[in-house]
Amino acid sequence: MSKQPTASNSGDLQYLLEMLDALVAPEDYLSGSEKHSSKEAIFAAYQLQIRQIIPFEKMGFMVPDEDGLDFELEYFWPESQIEKELQEQLEQYIEDRTFSVALQQNRPVILQKGEHNSELEILHVLATRSKIVAMFFGVTGKIKKELNELQLKMLSIIMANCAYALDSNELATQIREYNEQLETKIEYRTRELLTAKEVAESANKAKTEFLSNMSHELRTPLTSIIGYAESIHQGLADPVAQNINLEKTKKQSEVIIRNASHLSQIINDVLDLSKIESGNLEIEKMVFSPVLMIEEVKNLVTLMAKDKNLELIVHYQLPFPAEIDSDPTRLKQILLNLSSNAIKFTESGTIRIEASFVQPEQKMFFKVIDEGIGVAPDKHGQIFEPFRQADNSTTRCFGGSGLGLVICKHLSEALGGNISLKSEIGKGTTFSFSIATGKVPYENLIQTEMELFENKEDDDDFKPPSLQGHVVFSEDWIDNQDLIAFYLENTGLSYTATSNGEEAVEKVLEESPALVLMDIQMPVMDGMEATQLLRACGYSGPIVALTANVLKDEVEKYMANGFDGFLAKPIGQKKFYSLLEQYFEKSSISKKEQSQDSWPASDKFKTMSANFASSLPERLKELREVLGQGDLKQFAALVHGLKGAGGSFGYPEITVLAKEMEKVIKERAIKELPYQVNELEKMINDIVLNQ
């Protein structure tokens, strides 16, 4: 295997040049038109090159699999059925470790085969500097003579070339794949961003629209409220207002009330929604009668329906639970919302509320069916989204915050159910919703129509109750103060109004009222502190919190701090009167105590009272003297003594006057004092005369 026997110098050179030529030429394939050359193409090109150097009869390339443990025949030449033969031969080499020897050296491993070793088989590794790329396997024909060193070196060069070609091809493929992936990713992200942007823009647009609608919604009722209030005010302020049109004023104030309650509804909706969105919606479950609740809704909705000449039907599917465990306030809210919607969007026909109970599911199902304008099918989903009505123009036509249905959806879900609608344009809409009821035992199911209304309370008009006693209340908001005072006057109760906690403490201690109504949020001293202070001072009468904040935690806090109860704001007449009745009924015992609020007609007291009365002329004399000397300090001390003693001995009028005198002294309006002393003299004369 060393030398070509017939070599001449020029022949050698010629031969060498041919070999080199063969080595160079097929490189074309790489720079050729095929940009993305495949492994196949590389193997095919090098196969040609190899055959120009050594005329193999058969050859093949084996490529390691991904983990590099096994080799597979991936390319072979010629194509006709030699695969199996090559494969078998190679497996044999793998077994006798020739293969692994070949892997470890970067030169040909030559094996002699056949008769007289006339056949040669060559294994040659294809390796780059860093890794093994493939294994070449070639079989020469029988006729072949020995291979010379030059051929073998050439083969090694080709193998190295091929190895790098394969490697760079693989790298190129990888880069191409990465590129493609990257492009896909970028495209995907871009699309995502675009969608997000659209969503954000649309949400923003919806919010902006909502805000402008909202602002419009708030302004509209406010305009009427301010307008009519001003007109009433002007009517009253007019000096020639003798002929006030009472009928007109009544109508105007009705408009004010209607608009104010509408405004209040919108604000409540917005607050509810913000609670829902921040996850702070409170659900307070309790056992209650669904029939009573539905009848309450019916009463409210009937009025609205009458205004538009619509008929309202409530249908109970029997058997119906007498009691369920849910949140009555929230359930009522859903029903009221859906029914008033139904009325709003219906011009003529019937509104139908259906209620049914499904025992196995422990759920109640409600339907509110109207014969109104309907909702287009493509708007069915949108209608439950915040800040939307089916159509923004709807808001302009029908009013409302556009939040009602969103709130209904959240509420029904919070109550363990869901909500949906069926609708046909022009024919009407049916809203269906469900709520979980908790377990309803069989005996709690109402079976007959008659039983259904057995417990229905009479909900007739009410009149303020007639009550006796004294109330101290505190409320910093002057309008609310007037309102409470008005309600109290209607019942005949006497009252003292205060506008902060400190005043309340002072008045309660002074007047020992039978009931204290205490606002929570007040300036100077809040209701909580005032109540604690009153309890510390020994006031043991009932103190009721007036508050808009009636969450469970808050109420518990009130109770822990000395309150006896609470009244939720806004304060409605009915609620207020029933609260008063409760306390003034309860306090019938303390009323008795109050009737003892004059001293017992014991002889001892009579004597003491008489002693006090007879000391009065002497005291008056002293007062005049001190005033004459201008000793204001001493004068004040004497007045103070009178103030404390007067009422204590059964002469409250003296205490009242002394209090006024103290005020005058404090204000330094000294000129007033002689008049007051004269007043006192009259009073004392009366007392002495009547003794």
Partner: protein, 135 residues
């Protein structure tokens, strides 16, 4: 006014008005106290508190020599558990706050109606039963 305390109880009444002191004394005796000691100023009150086992004290806020607040402080120093009810002609929120902060157990604004006094005494009796103010 009905139930008499089971143990003999002594009350202290401090007011510069003799008339008012007598009034309070009479009603406290009627409410079941076995003895009512009367003081006409703060100094006398502190002295009386030192000399006797006082259960309940009514203290006027506006007194000569030692005013009610100073007297309250002195009594509280003598006996941290002292049960003192403040009586005052002017129940300003500030004075109420101060008295309660100093440990007064009640605050009665003049005129002293029987309801107010018996309410204060009842509260005392309940707490006495609960907290064993009585020995």
């Amino acid at each position: 006014m009905s139930e008499k305390p089971k143990k003999e109880q002594i009350a202290l009444v401090a007011d510069d008005s003799v008339l008012l002191c007598n009034l309070l004394k009479e009603s406290l005796l009627e409410l079941g106290f076995s003895e009512v000691i009367v003081a006409n100023n703060g100094k006398q009150a502190v002295q009386a508190y030192k000399m006797n086992k006082i259960d309940l004290t009514f203290l006027d806020l506006e007194m000569p020599i030692l005013n009610g607040i100073e007297t309250l402080k002195a009594i509280k120093t003598l006996d941290a558990n002292a049960y003192v009810v403040i009586v005052s002609g002017t129940g300003t929120a500030a004075s109420v706050k101060q008295a309660i902060a100093l440990g007064a157990k009640g605050f009665v604004v003049k005129p002293c109606s029987p309801a107010k006094i018996s309410e204060a005494v009842q509260k005392y009796q309940t707490q006495a039963a609960e907290h064993r103010y009585t020995e």
